[in-house]
């Protein structure tokens, strides 16, 4: 193919991790996402380690989702060793997870995505002209960080969550603090949703697709055992290899997921598409009054859904903080030393699956399948469609097309550090 024009960005800005994008415009239009982030082989790093150490290594996969990369392997390990954690542990872990959702979404929206919407290079310059908007973002981010600091010991690479429970339980007064703060930031969360109401989604990326999400244990949660698809099919996590397959592209250290042989999507939009009836409170009200902003066929909708989720998770954290009375309890120690376990949760960017095999307390096999790896092919298709749509509609400004393509990519909130860890062959 003769390439007429090329859009090439070796190092995409405002995403987590290192990736580039190339769009070639010729007789046809091609796009590819080069994942240049070096491979880190976590599946091998955790092998031959005691499960406690392995669980401490996993969060280092990614800082933005270090909580999911801690709590999901913990659950897989506990499943393998038949550890049944207490209700209190489950609650606190959920709160911790929700805190991460709020922080991650806030960071992504305010630091990475919203500058695109307002035409800035970065949040720093945007903050000068939109200080209130930026303050909302920082408040939300700080709230999420606070929840993680209190329950998880810190917001990046939490060490307090351990197999069987927690190293140290939060104090009741700290829970009170979370509750108080939650009520303080809820308006900022609603304002975030409202921000997106001023924007229309570019129609070039409209495309029917499958959305995969968890079937939550309770409410619009992040824990579950089953995965549902928007085509109506569902399967349990231990069957993940039967339905989610991967291939490798020579231009990417990330593997690339397919569901039933087709690219698919995971993330906030996929969760709303599949589980919207589980939303409650303000988030539900906002969804009902602005349901036209949830478009299953348009990935830009993901940002709106993230904003909606921030509202939901903050309200949920407040509700949980209201009800929980911390009582002293010890970590549950496993009786077993061997086993095989699976876990699936909803990380901010979508489904996260862990599979472990343990022999005599030692990890013999670990597999991690991350959301970014799952949606990478779909993201590539959307990026291509964006370029094609613009080009065919007469836009010849390559820079502008490039910017819009980047916007498509950012809408997904890809986590490149995560993406280079996927199903092993």
């Amino acid at each position: 193919m003769k390439i007429e024009r090329e859009i090439k960005n070796d190092h995409l800005a405002r995403i987590e991790g290192k990736a580039g994008v190339v769009v070639e415009i010729g007789d046809e239009i091609r796009a590819r996402i080069n994942v240049t982030e070096g491979p880190r082989f976590f599946e091998i790093l955790t092998k031959e380690k005691n499960y406690e150490e392995a669980a401490a290594i996993c969060p280092r996969i990614c800082s933005f989702c270090s909580i999911p990369h801690k709590l999901t392997p913990l659950e897989a390990i506990e499943n393998a060793l038949d550890v049944e954690v207490t209700e209190q542990t489950k609650l606190l872990r959920q709160m911790l997870y929700f805190g991460n959702m709020v922080e991650s979404h806030a960071l992504h929206l305010y630091l990475f995505a919203i500058p695109d919407y307002l035409g800035y290079h970065d949040a720093l310059s945007m903050a000068k002209e939109y200080p209130d908007l930026m303050k909302n973002g920082m408040d939300l981010k700080n709230f999420g960080a606070m929840v993680q600091n209190i329950i998880g010991s810190r917001e990046i690479h939490p060490e307090n969550a351990v197999v069987g429970g927690f190293g140290k339980l939060p104090e009741q007064h700290e829970i009170e603090k979370i509750k108080k703060m939650a009520y303080n930031v809820i308006d900022a969360a609603v304002a975030t949703v409202e921000f997106f109401l001023d924007y229309e989604y570019p129609s070039y990326v409209n495309l029917e697709r499958n959305h995969l999400a968890i079937k939550p244990h309770n409410g619009y949660g992040v824990y579950g055992d089953e995965i549902v698809a928007s085509d109506g099919f569902y399967f349990s996590v231990d069957k993940y290899k039967e339905y989610i397959e991967e291939d490798i592209a020579p231009y990417s250290f990330a593997k690339r997921g397919k569901y039933k042989g087709e690219p698919f999507m995971v993330g906030a939009l996929s969760r709303i598409v599949n589980n919207h009836n589980l939303l409650e409170g303000k988030a539900k009200e906002l969804l009902n009054s602005h349901s036209e902003f949830v478009k299953a066929e348009n990935s830009f909708s993901n940002n709106f859904c993230q904003a909606l989720e921030i509202v939901y998770f903050i309200e949920k954290i407040a509700e949980m903080a209201e009800n929980i009375k911390i009582r002293k309890e010890e970590r549950v120690k496993p009786d077993k030393k061997d086993g095989k376990g699976y876990a699936v949760t909803e990380a901010p960017r979508g489904l996260l699956i862990y599979e472990v095999e343990i022999e005599n307390d030692i990890i013999k096999y670990m597999n991690v399948i991350t959301p970014t790896a799952m949606f990478l092919p779909m993201m590539e298709i959307d990026a291509r469609n964006m370029a094609e749509g613009m080009w065919k509609n007469g836009y010849k400004d390559i820079d502008l097309i490039g910017k819009k393509v980047e916007m498509v990519i950012r809408a997904y909130d890809p986590c490149i550090s995560c993406s280079v860890h996927v199903i092993r062959l």
Binding site: R14, E43, N50, D122, E159, S417
Partner: protein
């Protein structure tokens, strides 16, 4: 006078940059600093001459090396940020193994056009002026480093262990009390012993002490006396210490008599 700074990530979890992006003062009191490039946060700017470059991550691809060298050429001062940059990070654990074998185990017979390698610290490739340790670094230390540069000086790096901060905080010692494999005695301080404060044994995420004073041998001996196996001790110590010079040797020495 504004200091021109650049912030860059090689292969890593991006946590150090995220931590830096969470430093309110860095974003708000920006008048001291001009950020020349920071891909994670801004689509403006590219690697160019700066007074100080902060680099997180390990060198894990040919592209990483190329970028790092370019950063070094353009920076008066280069700061290695975080465990990956200083010691290779958790991925540095594979040090000593064959890249091709590891690659094959994960990617099979597929070929990828970028050249990957086992993660290594920055100092293997370029001169590093200062280390800002942590996984990720603490906000207080990030501010301290920036502030000392801002007044035309430079930071004093800590050379004492987490243990000390644990005692200063008055936390119970998990190593003495619970016989847990705490790496606090050989891990560089700065976190105020966060994990022991949560009853969790230190895993050494800030990396071993500099200047050859991380006594893996003495600690391994104590662990051994507590009944831990050589394999276990090694596996735990290497998570953040694999590329510390002589770590393996020091542990081997303790078990020499038995082998």
């Amino acid at each position: 006078m504004k200091l021109r700074i650049g912030i860059h990530g090689l292969t890593s979890c991006y946590g150090c940059q995220l931590r830096m992006a969470s430093v309110r003062e860095l974003l708000e009191v920006a008048e001291n600093f001009e950020i020349a490039y920071w891909y994670m946060v801004s689509s403006k700017g590219e690697i160019s001459h700066v007074d100080i470059a902060f680099v997180e991550g390990s060198v894990s691809t040919a592209k990483d090396e190329e970028e790092l060298k370019k950063i070094r050429e353009n920076a008066d001062v280069l700061v290695a940020v975080g465990s990956c940059a200083i010691y290779g990070g958790v991925q540095g654990m594979l040090f000593g193994k064959e890249y091709e074998e590891i690659f094959k185990e994960v990617y099979g017979d597929n070929k990828i056009e970028f050249e990957g390698r086992i993660g290594e610290p920055l100092k293997k490739y370029v001169k590093v002026d200062y280390n800002l340790p942590g996984c990720p670094p603490e906000e207080e230390e990030i501010i301290y480093y920036l502030a000392t540069f801002a007044i035309g000086s430079y930071p004093e790096e800590k050379d004492y262990p987490v243990c000390t901060e644990c005692r200063r905080k008055g936390y119970p010692c998990v190593l003495i009390e619970k016989n847990e494999p705490c790496l606090g005695p050989l891990t560089v301080a700065g976190c105020d012993a966060r994990c022991p404060g949560y009853n969790v044994a230190c895993i050494g995420c800030r990396g071993p002490l500099p200047h050859g004073i991380a006594w893996f041998d003495s600690l391994a001996k104590t662990f051994k006396e507590k009944g831990m196996s050589k394999e276990y001790i090694k596996a735990r110590m290497e998570i953040f210490g694999k590329q510390y010079e002589k770590m393996d040797e020091m542990i081997e020495k303790v078990f020499e008599d038995e082998d």
